[in-house]
Symmetry: C2
Subunit: 331 residues, 2 copies
């Protein structure tokens, strides 16, 4: 087995997937082509199926050629390939960020749909340690919280029984390129999902090389370790917040939530806010305008004796009666 | 009251210190000269004393002139000034980091000694939001944990009844400079404690300006908010770790510590390691070589049934007998 293939096995045990249907997101770029080739090589023993999924974002003129490349590759490897094409309607005011976010959303929607149609257990994407470094650095510069520092998650449940997995998150791009050279596999040079993201490319091609050469050669390792540490810390905090929320929750529906205000008021304020953030997420209430001051206002209400009700962003009414907090979104 | 003076009052209420003895660390640079002048202006109403402390690190040829400048300033303001001179013995192999760390340690040792001699309640230093930004960015690049992201702490107890405080940590260097221009106060241009730190200066004078102009104008705010978020998160984790440690601690002396292994084994592993880190700090045991793998080895021992004892870095022996963990440093 080649070094890249072993690294992939170490990260994602073949026993976990060799008998499953696995949908592999392949852009045609080096990372995803290497992932596909390595999974093919590893799978030999298993009974599972590999299926290629290619999403054409239609953002570059060459994108049709990327799709052709992926089709030919899949044909040569004799595995099925599914193609999705995103139709965007752009306005000139749209920022690169907005386009990127819309493209990402459309991509995962297609992948999820394909996975459901094919009965896939896993969707795998080829994000590497280099993608992680760039994501963490980008978030740090743009402004993030400890939660944001966790970077790209390794695993996420996209739908019941369908996991999105990134088994290459601990593997460097250089290892990918060495592997492709070794097996003589070509790839599309610009088939990246981020090509519309000017900031990201500048960070990858200018800032990170500058930091490595002029500041610290080990800056990538620094960012990866920080992401790993933040992930451990956030997993703990998230578990505690969930425990607190569940202990406080009295009734929950899309129309109203009632909580044990006394229990919430005696918790650590940091954790109480984390529990509220989790509740907002579970209820799918917008957190866009729920800044630090709004969460604090909610905590103040919870701790007060017979306070007047307040209205939070999104028109959510918070009212405390006795020892019960009622949260009501607009009907 | 001038804007800088009000900002300082907002950050550190005069009611808290106006009747106390306050030792002000003054290098002669803009930040500390502004701090001294503003505290003088604010204090007028109070009965407390201000005392200047200047530590000459003897690292630059001009350092004697810095001391003279501070002496003249104190004389003009009619407040007492204390001077400490650090005598280093360098070896050619010493890195800038080593020198900086030694200088910092010597500085705080002098300040603490002066504060004790003078019965000072507070030692204040003039670290600004810009120092915080630089510290956080430097740590990110060099490699840090969530704990390291908290940056320069606002307050720290240096000795019983003596607090080290940084009331300017929310104030930008530009506000400092505007204030000094307003009141026509000069300062020593290179009187910085970091002048020996090439990396720090490069980060301040090259990298941060580049990030602001070529990447994100708001990068300073991003880093300050990250530090604030990390501080809240860490305070919560530290409080929980302390609670867990105290709940597990059976006996504690410099020669031996015994812990309730069962209690520790049932805690969240992340928190259990945090509690052990805290114990190591309390015992003043070296954590230098206690990497992630060593902490995990300790957790494994704690969770195991009748395991063999292990030796941890620093010769600390960890032994589990029944439900009791014994930690013994070398005698």
């Amino acid at each position: 087995m080649r070094p890249f293939e072993s690294a992939l096995c170490d990260s994602w045990s073949p026993a976990d997937w060799a008998d499953c249907t696995v949908l592999v997101a392949v852009s045609g770029g080096a990372d995803s082509v290497a992932l596909l080739r390595a999974l093919m090589a590893i799978r030999k023993q298993g009974k599972g199926r590999l299926i290629v999924a290619h999403i054409d974002h239609n953002l570059r003129v060459e994108s049709a050629e990327d799709a052709e490349f992926v089709q030919e590759l899949a044909d040569r490897l004799a595995i099925p390939a599914l193609f999705g094409k995103v139709e965007f309607e752009f306005t000139l005011t749209e920022s690169g960020d907005g386009i990127e976010a819309a493209a990402r959303e459309a991509r995962y929607k297609f992948l999820k749909q394909f996975a459901m149609e094919q009965g896939a257990r896993y969707i795998v994407t080829a994000h590497t340690a280099d993608d992680q470094v760039e994501t963490v650095l980008q978030r740090i510069l743009r402004g993030t919280s400890v939660a944001g520092l966790t970077g790209i998650p390794r695993a996420r449940e996209l739908a019941p029984g369908i996991s999105l997995l990134r088994p290459m998150l601990g593997i460097r791009r250089a290892e990918v390129e060495a592997y492709l050279a070794e097996i003589g596999q070509d790839f599309r040079h610009d088939a990246t999902n981020d090509e519309s993201d000017f900031f990201r490319n500048k960070l990858r091609n200018e800032l990170l090389p500058l930091l490595r050469s002029e500041y610290l050669p080990q800056v990538d390792q620094s960012l990866l370790r920080l992401a790993a540490g933040a992930t451990e810390c956030r997993e703990y905090v998230a578990a505690e917040a969930e425990r607190l929320l569940d202990a406080c929750l009295l009734t929950q529906s899309s129309k109203q939530v009632t909580l044990n205000a006394k229990r919430l008021a005696t918790a650590d304020p940091f954790l109480a806010i984390e529990a509220c953030v989790l509740l907002w997420r579970r209820q799918d209430w917008s957190r866009q305008e729920m800044g630090r001051d709004k969460w604090r206002a909610l905590l103040t209400l919870i701790a007060a004796d017979a306070p007047a009700p307040i209205e939070l962003p999104g028109g959510i009414r918070a009212e405390k009666k006795g020892e019960q907090l009622t949260l009501t979104p607009p009907s």
